[in-house]
Structure formats: structure tokens, C-alpha cells
Symmetry: D2
């Protein structure tokens, strides 16, 4: 997966958040649309490029051209129109495989010749006139080849149990750097299998083997007795170590919740190999 | 503009909100990408189709085919994968010009044959198996030909003043039914003009006449003395009356803020004619 | 219980909320400190006395003098110092048994002679100079003799299950008028019994009969098999009908959650008589 | 001022926040009621005593006995009843002048003999049975003699300007350790003078010299021409260096906002000496 990583800042934290949510939107893992995106974490004023409150985001796509397009589009739609918001590259230099240029994109062209390249925090940034002053957007954004599809399934005795475990896992994962989770609220209810059984031409369909509600209708259900709900947590990241670290932290957090019966894993594209982690082994990881 | 209007519900208000933000994302007015979208308002449990907390959303596009595509895509990415979330049509029957069908879209096909059509709250809905139970999505969503590009510009003596006025306007507009505001946080900082002066082939560029920061560099700046910041509020809606009502309410709210010098309006596509409302006239509207 | 009901408004919803949270604080039901308080619900700009965003709050105390003192203190500490905030009476005229006067309290005296009584929305209000303009506080607040201690216990198979059921109950109760729930987040984890077994002089101690974690150490545990967690939802209100309506709505919402084994009720002061509602009967209420 | 500093944790961040807001409530600086309290900042899971999300809070009072009482009362009302919440001491050992004991308070007594002292994260904590499991509260909380009343006044050309500057200052101050701001949303609109001019016996009344709205009625108004609104930011802290650092950071942040005319300071008890910082000097501090 190609991944771009960037910081959105604004005068106040709530405007930075409004901008980040807009830029992240429609970024759930799916087989259509504008690729994946997630808010990695809040950043402090201290560590912010322009000493304003901000958020760290990642955008990812399996196709390089598509990534370049949507990385720019997310900043164009989420940052450029939003009061006081600006955007800066956040890809560590050593991880960048190439840089997506803002030149000749709808961001630079929006300036209509009034835009300038200036220096800010040691970076070359476009200074683009906006009705509330200027919008600052870095001239290029580093892109890495990262890891997609890290994931684990939380099998719980009830919906509430599985959901609380998933929430706690997501909060724990948020503290691991270089990873992001594209799901709304960090949790996926719709497990996906590649292709379809009945709909042969389908790109992706429901992961029926892990749907407790149709257990009896599915040939090879993987739902053990006592499990009534499954949630999935996805982890994408800049490198394998970070993804594995996030999965470990997430699974450990999820299994602190009473009523979790098993942790398993999907196997979507074979990228991470087939992972099946029994609860017992997970608990031994502590 | 073609507009679809729908309700997202979930077990708890925060999961309904997570779903709504994801589905609304990348919906800022712009000349690229997945069209426009906005959260119209929160809905009570009482008025909710399945008696769960929810939000009312609108999606719009000037092209009918694109609207159909992105309306489904927003639900596919924002609702189907999100824990406990479901989606229902919210277009008043008498306003619907046609219905976008879910049949044969990635939503229905996701069911892989396990999906069924059932009745819920007097509606025909797809019941699609998901790992946490079932996702309910109405079989068709009404689409109206509505009004796009209602807008007004708030000219303030300072950034803080214009921004507070814009925020207050947006909160007031949220109480007017049948309208939505596509901007992140409801406010646009990037005024837009059609085409470009320097970049002749550009689709849309900065509204330089309303950028105080480059007042001296612009031939025909429309920034009066004492104005240092401009914000814009957009209003799309199902009919002209609602859009006008929302603009009146928004302008009245904005002008309660000390330091607002003038309310003006852009003129993007000629749809609403040229509107120029001096502050004096606005105050007489009270 | 003596109950005062009031509205806090501010220029923006987030400042109204900041004010409301401060005024509500330390209002959890307990046998010490500043009595009880809760945010009843958000109010729209349309229904607001000064056409600004706001919240409806209630403060309660079993002692009339204490209620008068803390009602004023909550407004003095939560509203008077908070940017743009004002406070208005919200007790329906026909329910008020008497009015708590602001005259000669720390609110009026704060004006140091600069305060005036003016009319606003048909009300007599103090207009008190503040560094950001004026604070408007109604001259008197109606107090009713209401109902305290409406409550029900949610017995769940796990913590996550009981907690989600409690959250859903609280969201449903919020739509019932004239009631408030004093707990943080609306849910109580610390069941209370009057007096103590070991600590004879204690005013209130843990409701050991409903603590699953010490089931074996308690003589007459009321924890049925399969129950591992209990949460309690309190409902105070201006009249019995509203409290009963809220309890019905809350219990019905809670029991939609899979894994809830039983709904029961505490019996704290005998005020509401002994209520014990088996899950079966609750489900029949639908 | 005597200050206690403690951490509240819970299973999820939102329950930790609900608990923290309840415990912080009614903590605005005022001359009545339960003293002062503030949320210092969010803490990460990594730095949390029980590896759960949490918040760092401070409670302060000029009177030692009162501080002890309300420190315990805030934990008793904000933490003990709140789902999954626990509380731990956060006073650095070298700063503690003494410790407030939980023994024989309503917290310990609530346990009714079922409470035990256990070790957790190297601390001695009460393990108190609650209906959702156990509540963990450290056996003693360190108290320091800190600094109260650090403050600065933000004089702006308009309300919106002064308020945005205050918000930005508060966000910046939140990153300075060992300080807290007791105001709702961090900002005070009600400047206070000791005693009264007209009401001779008053403890505290409106700071009329800094109220632009009554400028003409006040003998010695300190409002310069062009100033129409004033907000105040308070900073309490464990030591003078931290308070000064926070004031510097806050003033620098506030003065980045266009339309701020002057930064001044109140002088409430002479504790910090008379501070008057002209804007020019502040800008030189950069």
C-alpha cells in the first residue's frame, strides 16, 4: 500500500479537528472510492510545525496514481476550504520512497498566480490566498510503501462485549506511532471476503463465515459456540514492525474485557500470511 | 443539483455520529471528487425509523449519475461497515423526482445472497448480514432536484469576529429543515471564482476580489476599508423557500456579532441570480 | 425533593455546554455536598429565551434551604463567570411551589450597584456588568416539590453488556421532559444502601447485595447466576408521571441489549415504595 | 493555596472524561462553595497507573481543612459512582507537603468493611466493591502549597476577538505541566475585585474598572480606547516557575490573534505582586 502522512493544523483544536474529519472521510477500507484514510493521533502545539493545535493523518491506496490523486484531493477538500487550516508533510525522510508534488494540482492552481512558495519551519510551503488570510500547504508530501490489511477479529459473547473490546483496542492502538486505522470509530462490523460465492463477479462480499447471525445458513461457519458477535480492527502502517506492535497492543487491550471468547484474523490478500491467534496464546503475550 | 436525503441510526448516539461523519466526509463544495454532503441535523429517538439515535444527512451532485453513484458509495463506506449502523430514506415522498435503487449496487451485492428484503417501520429494507448482526438499508432512496449554491459572505473587521459570526450563523441554519451546508464545520474560508485569471484552463480558483490579504495586488478588490477577513456560508436545499429561509436566519444570526461590517454574496453559477445584501437591509429584515 | 429548573444560554453551543457542565458538576446523587444536578437536555435556538443555543438543567435537594443555596451557587459558579453565558428560569408556572430570589444573593451583590433589572423575553432579569458585556440572570427561579430516587438496576452477564444497556437507557430517558439523571454520564456504578452493616454510623455504604464481585462474602446476595455486573440509572423529576414514564422508556431501551438478565430496583428511602420489576414483566410493557 | 493533584482513569476515554468533568465541576474560582478545580490535561494509556485512558486533575483551596474535605468529596462524587472509574495520586513526591488520608472518610467508609488495601502500580490503594466490580482509590493524596491567582487580562477590540485569543491561550497553557485553570472552558468573563464599592460588606464584586460596557459609569475605568471586551485567564500551579511559564505561553498565544489591544493583569490578593504587561513588552518576549 502506498501511504502519505500529513499534519493538519488550525488556530484552534476544534477547527483542526473539523478539517481532519473532513479530510479523513470516506476513508474506510472498501473496494470502491477514494482509498483509505485515518487520523493517526492528535499532536501537541509543541510538536506542531506552526505551533498550532493539529492532527496527524494518513491516506493509503494500493495504486500509486490513485494515492497521489486522493492524497491531494483530501487536502484540497479537507484543508484548503477550512477556516485557518494548513497542511504539512509528516512522512519521516528515511521512509519516503518518493514525493507527491503539489505543483500543477488543483491546490496550487487554486492560487491563480497569487500563490507563492515561502519557508516555514524549515519547509518549502505554498502560501495561497484565502478569504481569511493565507493557507499554507507544503510543496510536496512524502509517500512510503507501507503495510495494509493488518487486522484481527474480536469474537465476543455479545455485541456490547465485542464492541467495548474493540473500542478499547482502538484507543490502545492510537498510541502506537506510524499506524492508522481507516474505519469509522476505528471498528469494522462488515467483515469482507474477496469475491463472492453466489455473486461470482463481486469484488468483495460479506465474510459469511464470521457472521453469527447466519451461522446455520453458512456451510463452514467459523463461529464457535457462545460467540454472538464479531468485530474487526484494521491496522495499516508505514512498516511491519509498527503494524505488529499495534496488533499486539490492540489484542492485549481487547482481551482485558470479560466475555471475549477468541481473537482470530481474516486473510484478505495474503499480504500478512494467514494469522490465527487463539486467545490462550494472546494472553501468554502479556 | 440532485439531492438524496437519508437517516443514519445506530445503537448509541456516538456510533451514529461516527457513521455520519464518515459518510459526510470529502463532501465540501469543490470542483472535484465525490460531490457534496452535509449533516442536516441530529434526530431524536422518537422520530427515528428504528427508534435509535440518528442523524439526517444530504448528499448532492450537479450530475444525476454521479449523485446516484456517490449516494450509494457514502452509505456503502459510511454505514455498512460501521458497528450497529443502518440507513433509511428521508426524502419526503412529494419531493422525490425519482428513486436511486440499491439493487445491483455494491451494497446489495455485499450480501452475497444472504441479503433479504424485509419490512421495517413500513419500509422495504435490505437486511444484510454483518459480523455484529444485520445492517438494514432501505431498498431505494428518493432524489429531488434541489437548489445549490445559496451562500453569503461575512465581512468582518478581524478573523476572530468573522469566524464567530460564521459559527453562529451555521448553528442557526441547522434548525431550518430541508437544507444542508457541505463545509467542514459549516464555514468556507476559500472563496471560489469560476475559471482563472492567470491559469486560463482552471475550473475554479481563489476568489481574489474577496481576499483581504492580497487587496493591493488585486485589480478590483471588493474589500471595503476596515474589513480584514471574510468567511462564506453555503446553503443547499430541497427547495428555494428553505434555502432563502436558511439564508435569512443565518445572516440575522451573523449580524448579531459586533465587528461584522457587511454581508455580501458570491455569484458562482448564476443559479440564484446576483445577490448583494447590504448590512443595512439585512438589519431591516429583523 | 425540592427542584429548580433553569436554562443556560450562550453565544455558541460549545460555550453553553461548558457553562452547563460546570453548573452541573458535583451533582451526582450522594449523601454529601452540593445536592444533585443534571442536564435535562439541549434546547434549540428556537425555544431559547434569548434565541441562543442552550441547555436545560435541574438542581435538586431534599432540604429547601440547601436547594436555594446551591441553586444560586450553581448559577453563580457555572454561569456568571463563563463567557457570553446567561441563565433563565425554566420551571413551568403551574408547577412552581415558590420562587428562589436572586436578590441579596452573591449573584445580585456581584453587580456592586451597577446591576439593573430589565425585561427580556417577557421576564424580569438582572443585567449584571461583566468584562465581556452583560450577564443576564432571571430575578427568581421557580422551585417545585418533585420526586427523587426513581431508579432501576440493570443486571447483565458482563460489564460491557450492562454498560451499553445503561447508556442506551440514558439516551432514551433524555427525551422524556421534566426528569433529570444526576449521575456522571447518566450511570451509577456505586449502588448505595442506607446506613452500614459494619460501620454502624455510616450514612450510606456500598449496596453489597448487588455487588457481583463480592457475592460469596455477602450474606444475602441478590445476584442471580449468570450476572456479573450491575449498573443503576436514577431518575428524578418534577412529578411522578414523568418519572414513571422515564423509567418505562429507560427499561425498555435497556432490555433491547442482548445479555441483560434482569431489571430490578433499589429501595433507598421508601419514597417510591418497593419496586421489583422482573425482566419478563418489563418486556410485556412493550 | 493548598493543591491536590490526582489522576482519574476508566475503561474508555469517554468514561474517564465523564468522571473528570463531574469531579472538576463547580470548581471555578469564586468566593463561595467547593473551592477550585481544573482538568490539567489528558494522559496517555502509556503513562497511566493502571494502563487505561485518563485525565490529570487538580483541586485547590486557600484553607487546608477545606481542601482536604473537597479533595475527598470530588473523588467521592466524581469517581466512586462512575462506571469503571478509579483515582490515583499524581502529586510528585518531592512537592508534597503532607498527604490527605482516605481512611475514615466517606470513601473508605463506603466500603462497609468489604474494602481492602491492595497494591497496584506500586501504590497502596483501596479496593472498594462496586456493582460493576471494584473501584480503586489510592489510600492518600499528596498536597502541596502552590500558587493561586496567576492571571492575565486580554483586552480586545471585540468580544469575538478577545474570546478567540483566550481560547488559544488556554490551549497553549494546557501543555505546561503542574498548572491548572479552574474556569469553565478555561476563560473568565467576570473579573472580580475584592470587596465592593456600593456593597461594602461584599466579599467580591464585579471588576468594574475592566468592564467596557459600563465604562462611562465607572470613575477610574482602565479600558483604553478601541477596547470593547476583556477576558481573563487564571493560572494556578504547584510552583511559581510553572505558573510564570504558563502565563508567558498563554500571553504569547493570545497575542497572535489580530485585534488584541493590550494584555494586562488583575491584582486580587497581592500574592503575585502587581503585574502590568504592556502588549509591546509581551511581543518582545518572543
Amino acid at each position: 500500500m502506498y501511504i502519505g502522512r500529513f499534519i493538519i493544523t488550525a488556530s484552534t483544536r476544534r477547527w483542526a479537528l473539523a478539517s481532519a474529519l473532513e479530510a479523513k472521510g470516506l476513508g474506510v477500507s472498501a473496494t470502491l472510492g477514494p482509498g483509505e484514510a485515518g487520523i493517526e493521533r492528535e499532536i501537541s502545539i509543541e510538536e506542531s510545525p506552526d505551533k498550532r493545535p493539529g492532527y496527524l493523518l494518513d491516506a493509503g491506496h494500493r495504486d500509486r496514481k490513485e494515492l497521489n490523486y486522493w492524497l491531494i484531493a483530501r487536502i484540497r477538500k479537507g484543508v484548503l476550504p477550512t477556516p485557518t487550516a494548513s497542511a504539512f508533510d509528516a512522512m519521516p525522510e528515511e521512509m519516503a520512497q518518493y514525493h507527491a508534488e503539489v505543483k500543477d494540482t488543483p491546490i496550487q492552481i487554486f492560487g491563480d498566480g497569487y500563490e507563492e512558495i515561502v519557508e516555514r519551519d524549515g519547509r518549502a510551503v505554498y502560501k495561497i490566498p484565502r478569504m481569511d488570510g493565507f493557507c499554507y500547504i507544503e510543496t510536496k508530501f512524502g509517500v512510503a510503501r507501507g503495510i495494509a490489511g493488518g487486522n484481527f477479529l474480536i469474537l465476543g459473547e455479545s455485541q456490547a462485549t465485542a464492541l467495548m473490546a474493540a473500542e478499547i483496542a482502538v484507543e490502545a492502538i492510537r498510541e502506537v506511532p506510524y499506524v492508522f486505522d481507516p474505519c469509522a470509530g476505528g471498528v469494522a462490523a462488515s467483515g469482507t471476503k474477496v469475491g463472492g460465492k453466489k455473486y461470482k463477479n463481486a469484488v468483495a462480499t460479506t465474510n459469511d463465515a464470521f457472521c453469527p447471525s447466519i451461522k446455520e445458513r453458512v456451510g463452514e461457519s467459523k463461529i464457535p459456540p457462545g460467540v454472538n458477535c464479531v468485530y474487526e480492527v484494521f491496522v495499516n502502517g508505514l512498516n511491519l514492525t509498527s503494524v505488529e506492535r499495534a496488533m499486539k497492543v490492540g489484542i492485549e487491550a481487547a482481551t482485558t474485557v470479560a466475555g471475549i471468547k477468541k481473537i482470530s484474523a481474516g486473510n484478505y490478500g495474503g499480504k500478512l500470511g494467514k494469522i490465527l491467534i487463539p486467545l490462550k496464546k494472546v494472553l501468554e503475550m502479556h
